[in-house]
Symmetry: C2
Subunit: 359 residues, 2 copies
């Protein structure tokens, strides 16, 4: 994806192969800055503090974190510590666990002298696969969009989305935003209603930044306003990403997705989930079994932005002494999802098993 | 209601009767400050800028605004200008229109020399009526809460609310919060989940402030999180205020109320609207006819709060160049409302006509 006209991915291996560089997403949209992560601990901290975020990107970044740990110490103990440390950073997104399992399986039997090279090669392969998966999701989603536009006889689709499931949350292309970029580039008119996504404003800060860089027309709405927008603004389709999908199709995604799905259902607007097969957790029967990360209350009680001089500042919005709940995700029941747009095509909840079968 | 132990109403006539004092709600929760409004234009500006807000309080404040205009100039032209100016301040809340109509009816035939006194007396009567109405809503709502607690065998009720329908939005007691205060004072355990209520944070800033002053346990949640809270936190009842209710029970209230009602319905949680009969607009058949105020995009793109030194600051959270929609209200369909708690008792949507019939 292009930023100020230059092609970027969200992470890359630095020359010398002793660190990876990532875009510091806590500085967006105000500053576009790269950070070098040179150790397991730096990678883990970047995930916890959401310098990198988005289920697919967390998985790939963690893979490089394992490689960096093995560069310093290729022992079994070091590998085990790296896998455990990274898996503990964020509990809900399943890509992280999937990635750690795959690294354990591929690296455990390697000799110490092979481990760093093998881990690096696997991390790079996972990054390339992420790009390819998202490109395929973009194609399948574009077909969905085209069909809706054709059926309704519209030149421009009104699309709603939540949080950031764009290229910033992946290595490139994005998941939910991939079909939007694909459709926009192909000349289908697209306008996106972007939920601001409290408490961390990933919609207002990240999705709006991405869409703006790509020239996609869009409008930010407070999360509580999107139901009204769906009722009154002739929205054609809702598309969101996901952090973990259970076997039955129940979908954990950024907090605020479930009420958006309810509003879509109440207004007859089809609600799609962009689902890389790595984000399917076939071991869980339903969504109630998905662990929901609870983050610090301060993220709700205080807001960080930039003042008129561009100085970053944090202000308190809540009453003194007030407390807050801050669940980072919610679970949208499968019954509210029209379809899952995966790299293997658009699936109904009943057909998710196809994603765990050989292609 | 008590603030720092002192009894306050949200507005009162100053000695000399040439101004009214109100609490500046744009400074809450960080500073508790009074502002004097000494003219029609000052009253109108206070309503537009939300120094005073809440449908009942807007109505009463506007009544005093008419009196202040007539104090300076009791002519027909002055009366007409006052009514038109105030009615134009905010389009959705119907209490304002109801009040202006009532003032027109009672003051139009009065002589110039009588008008100021008559307007002042009426404004004061409307203020007293508001207090009495809300006290009655508190009693009827308390009965609803008691019945729920009894049926479930619970000592403590989990209540969810949106925006601020407390004493800050009325002359005293509040509408949706009146039953909460009544129940708390009577010894029924109450814990309130308070939607923060973007974009202006009336929940996090005002409701949390009020409940804190009164000692009612509560927790702020981002608007997008309340559906998850309703699904997982055993919430017993949702109660909200309203800005205008149509004849069929469709309810305009602060943006974000409609998705909260959808979440309540999806989780079997009863959803009540506290409805002073003045907020019923029997002239409108259904909610689609209610005008929805659209406010400035800046309220969404920027956030105001206080920094660690207590200095008030405004920070931008959205991407540069981004635009936003900012509808101030949404319409909750009557089918999602379990009951309307009015000063005359709890009514079903089908029985709202009783509120426009003589008692």
């Amino acid at each position: 994806m292009k930023i100020h006209g230059t092609h970027f991915r969200t992470l890359w291996l630095d020359e010398g192969r002793s660190s990876v560089s990532v875009i510091d997403q806590t500085e967006l949209p105000h500053r576009f800055e790269m950070v070098r992560l040179g150790s397991l601990d730096e990678v883990a901290r970047a995930i916890v503090t959401m310098v990198v975020r988005g289920a697919p990107l967390i998985g790939v970044t963690a893979a490089f974190g394992v490689a960096l740990a093995l560069r310093e110490d290729p022992s079994d103990a070091s590998l085990a510590r790296a896998l455990a440390t990274l898996e503990a950073t964020r509990p809900t997104a399943v890509n992280l666990r999937w990635t750690m399992k795959r690294m354990a399986a591929e690296l455990g039997h390697k000799s110490r002298s092979e481990r760093f090279e093998a881990a690096l090669a696997l991390a790079q392969r996972l990054a390339e696969e992420d790009v390819a998966i998202n490109r395929a999701i973009g194609e399948h989603g574009f077909e969905v969009f085209r069909a809706i536009a054709r059926d309704k006889g519209k030149d421009t689709l009104q699309v709603a989305t939540h949080c950031n499931a764009g290229w910033l949350g992946t290595v490139d292309h994005g998941t939910a935003l991939a079909p939007i970029y694909r459709a926009h580039d192909a000349g289908l008119g697209i306008h996106v209603f972007v939920d601001e996504t409290r408490p961390r404003f990933q919609g207002a800060a990240l999705t709006s930044f991405e869409l703006g860089q790509h020239g996609v027309p869009h409008t930010i709405v407070p999360d509580g306003a999107s139901a009204h927008i769906l009722r009154t603004a002739r929205v054609d389709v809702v598309i969101v990403g996901c952090d973990r999908v259970a076997r039955n199709g129940d979908t954990a995604n950024k907090i605020g997705t479930y009420p958006l799905a309810l509003a879509a259902m109440d207004n007859g607007v089809p609600f799609y989930v962009a689902l890389p097969s790595r984000t399917l957790d076939f071991s869980l029967e339903h969504g109630d079994a998905i662990p929901i990360e609870e983050r610090a209350a301060g993220e709700v009680l205080e807001v960080t932005g930039v003042d008129a001089s561009g100085v970053k500042r944090t202000v308190r919005v809540a009453a003194p002494g007030a407390n807050a709940r801050n669940p980072a995700f919610d679970v949208t029941p499968a019954r509210l999802v029209r379809g899952f747009i995966s790299e293997r095509g658009v699936l109904d909840a009943r057909d998710l098993h196809r994603l765990v079968e050989p292609a």
